[in-house]
Amino acid sequence: MLVLLLLILPVLFVPILLLFSEKQSKNIALVAALTEMCVGFFAFYQYQINPTCACFNWNTIWIQNLNANFHLQLNGINSVLVLLTTLIVPFIIQSTFERDIKNIKAYLSLMLMMQTALVGVFLAQDALLFYIFWELALIPIYLICLVFGGENRQKITFKFFVYTLFGSLFMLLAIIYVWIHTENRSFDIHSFYKAGALLTAKEQLFVFIAFYLAFAIKIPIFPLHTWQPDTYVNAPTQGTMLLSGIMLKMGTYALIIWLIPVVPLGWQQASKYVIILSVISVVYGSLMALTQHNFKRMLAYSSIGHVGLIAAGIFTMNLQGVQGAMYQMLSHGINVVALFFVCDIITNRMKTDEMHKLGGIRNVSRVFSVLFLIILLGSVALPLTNGFVGEFLLLHGLFQYNTVVVVFAGLTVILGALYMLRAYQLIMHGDTNALTESFGVITVNEKILLACFAGLIIFFGLFPNLILDGSENQIKQIIDHVHEVTAMVVKK
């Protein structure tokens, strides 16, 4: 029951929200998101105490002919992502406060619908249901970007949509292909694991590629990233937050659950290449970030670098790599949303996010500069911040895989510090110019939000075990399954 509540709660608030006035609707949306957050926390906490509780499982028949079930289940891995989603959305909704947005009701309703779809993606244990939620998440975010985006939004959002849909259609093909090979024609994730392992090596490789296309586009991984910078820059702030904070985690989560364990042999054959591609995204994203003049665009490229590292860690399929990826998914979600909020504060006041036009904001608003620095250091992965734990584990995992790879992947730490501190220098340091003098102080609402972000960054930097302990068992199971299947083939 609890999982069903988690899924539908945000959408239940949509009709209520539409009844209220424009001004009130923001509060209603915040109440919705906070209620969902409480349920999310409760579920996460309950799961740590009693993971076998029946309330974490919801299974009803959905399409009898296809043997598809409406099967939601909270487990070690997706509880972290559900926690992330429920934690971040209230922040995203609160960031609309004090901003003038036309049609705010539609905007907030779309966000709440998006939340339902995202929670659905993470909870679904049935391939068809997973696919439906995967696509369902695309429609609200597309409308958010299309209706509320910046200049030239039609072309850019369209590119984004077609890109992602292109990938998902191949995923659909792969799902059907595995499904017709399952024993009793079932979409259940475990029968997928069984059926996938029995495919021949060549079939597994094709299925792997079809799935990989969908996930790599969503994440995005070089060379399928070309939709990302434009979309991030053009989308409204909250759209960017949703995209980078939560939506791309759909891709990395699916790598762990739906790709590698379904076709272990496909992973075995392709892992070398996909890890190299991921590491290329790390270096490419970081280098591109270093050359940007526009703050938001720089953040977009830095995101490519960070998620490239997550993907590389997952493809190593060892405990440290995947656990690091789990943790980094959570911390990247928090950090990137915080950074985009900082960017929103700056653009809202300065009407520009060109970094060389800014400078000296430190002299105007001290509180802002301190909080910005903490958030930024989280993203740079300084010890005691959440970014450090994730990146350390990821690099450790990669190190076990290959030493050469880790040298290149490790560049992310150095380059990350370089472009982030350069941005900080350009925006905050230096002499205050005519433009930045008008920056003023930041409002209470913004202060609270930034302080919460900074608090979360340090909190998760200090207590990583809260998250890592929960996911460890299930990740071990998946890794064991993968290695078992690949070992069996070697014996043959």
Binding site: Q64, Y131, I132, L146, T157, V162, L172, L173, I176, Y177
Partner: protein, 457 residues
């Protein structure tokens, strides 16, 4: 039998209503009649009746299910076209023509005798030739009627010739006898049979506007009055594709190799050409015409990939497509003109129209949770199960092109600069119809096997 009598009776009543001064009650009477027809169909389906009418028609489950769909669509269509009928002087003729052509659809869904196939095609087409030209003072409408009639008559010739050849080959008009005698092979001329069936295939391909027999479609769809175009792209298409299914589901069983290859080539071409050309259109009516060609291709593909689920797949695809298409045309009728720019900023002018159009287009593009997604999904499933992964990939890529042009309209609706910012007023009947049709599209998509459990089991 009662469904047939009811439909023709309604047609005759509409024709005579003008004489007995009952013009006002035609509309309510027709709607009531169609509701009664839905009830008859449901009743027969539940009772599991297999009525055989003089060895000409066989009302087993599949024709009844198609007739049910026909009646539902017809109700929507009459509500949508209510204003169109208002300004017309010869009201009862129009009602009668539409109802008679529905009788043709009914025959096409249920025939077992070749002469009924021919009669069905003719009864379906001739009223539509007239309706296509019903905007008398518009040259394009006249052109549409003329083109449609000439080419249609030509296709009917092929059909008749084909039926003759088949009769010459097997000595029978009965589809089941043709099938069984050709399997046994005694006293059957294979060559005559194959030529005959190929000719019938071409004629039917013309009716469903499959490539390369599709050239009439865009001009006729654009020229005809928009309500008639809506009629052609939903109910006429339903009739033609149901007739196609009726014949070739039997034919394919006994001569799989020749016809499967031909049909696969035709359906893949239809999917690809329909979608590719639609992508370059700027007139919405034309765009929908080409996209309807693409959808017909998907139904043909479903026809080709025979499996126990084929009837349901064909029916579900047709339901999803016709409902979405009806909704799209409904919105189109309310707009000033048929250029895509007419959709600009529609969301501000009337949110209900914008919402319905978006749902309809998302459904046609095959995005979950709309009905169109599962329609495509079922077809692809059967295709992959028949080991034709390559064809599935082609179909997927073609439907991706579909996303391109459907989204052109969606983008215009939500972010285009409106040319005319006047609000659009809707009558309450329109509102109910639009909401109902949207709910149906979503409901079918969320519970794709509800209809199966209800009707096909």
């Amino acid at each position: 039998m009662k469904e047939l009598l009811l439909l023709s009776g309604l047609g005759i009543f509409a024709l005579l209503a003008e004489m007995i001064n009952a013009r006002k009650i035609i509309f309510p009477a027709v709607i009531a009649g169609l509701c009664l027809n839905i009830f008859f169909c449901l009743n027969d389906i539940m009772a599991g009746n297999n009525e055989n009418i003089f060895n000409m028609l066989l009302l087993d489950k599949i024709p009844l299910v198609f007739t049910l769909l026909l009646s539902v669509l017809a109700i929507f269509w009459f509500v949508m076209a209510k204003n169109y009928f208002k300004d017309e002087t010869n009201l009862s003729d129009h009602f009668a023509l539409v109802l008679f052509s529905m009788v043709g659809v009914f025959l096409l869904t249920s025939y077992t005798h070749m002469s009924m196939l021919f009669l069905g095609v003719e009864i379906l087409s001739i009223p539509v030739y007239v309706l296509a030209g019903s905007d008398k003072r518009n040259t394009y409408s006249n052109e549409a009627a003329f083109k449609y009639f000439l080419l249609g008559a030509f296709a009917s010739g092929f059909l008749l010739l084909g039926i003759t050849f088949v009769y010459g080959g097997t000595g029978s008009f009965n589809t089941l006898q043709i099938a069984s005698s050709s399997v046994l092979g005694a006293g059957v001329s294979k060559q005559l049979l194959t030529i005959g069936l190929l000719l019938i295939l071409f004629a039917m391909a013309f009716k469903v506007s499959a490539v390369p027999f599709h050239f009439w479609t865009p001009d006729v769809y654009t020229g005809a009055p928009t309500v008639v175009t809506a009629y052609m792209s939903t109910i006429v298409k339903l009739g033609a594709l149901a007739g196609f299914y009726r014949l070739f589901s039997i034919v394919l069983v006994f001569d799989a190799t020749t016809f499967t290859t031909t049909l696969i080539i035709i359906s893949v071409l239809t999917i690809v050409v329909g979608n590719v050309i639609a992508a370059s259109q700027s007139n919405t009516k034309r765009l929908l015409a080409f996209s309807s060609i693409g959808h017909a291709g998907f139904v043909l593909l479903a026809n080709t990939m025979l499996s126990p689920s084929t009837p349901y797949v064909v029916w579900y695809y047709l339901t999803a497509y016709t409902l979405s298409s009806m909704a799209a045309f409904w919105v189109l009728i309310k707009l000033d003109n048929h250029d895509i720019s007419a959709f600009n900023g529609l969301v501000k002018r009337n949110p209900l129209l914008a919402g319905t159009m978006t749902i309809a287009l998302l459904s046609m593009a095959g995005i979950p949770p709309m009905a169109g997604f599962f329609a495509k999904y079922f077809v692809l499933l059967n295709t992959i199960q028949n080991k034709s992964v390559l064809i599935a990939v082609i179909a997927i890529l073609a439907s991706l092109i579909g996303v391109y042009y459907y989204f052109k309209i969606i983008i215009a609706i939500f972010s285009g600069k409106e040319i005319n910012s006047a609000k659009i007023e809707l009558s309450w009947l329109d509102k109910i119809g639009l909401v109902l049709i949207s709910i149906l599209i979503i409901l079918l998509g969320v519970l794709p096997d509800a209809c199966y459990n209800l009707l096909f089991r």
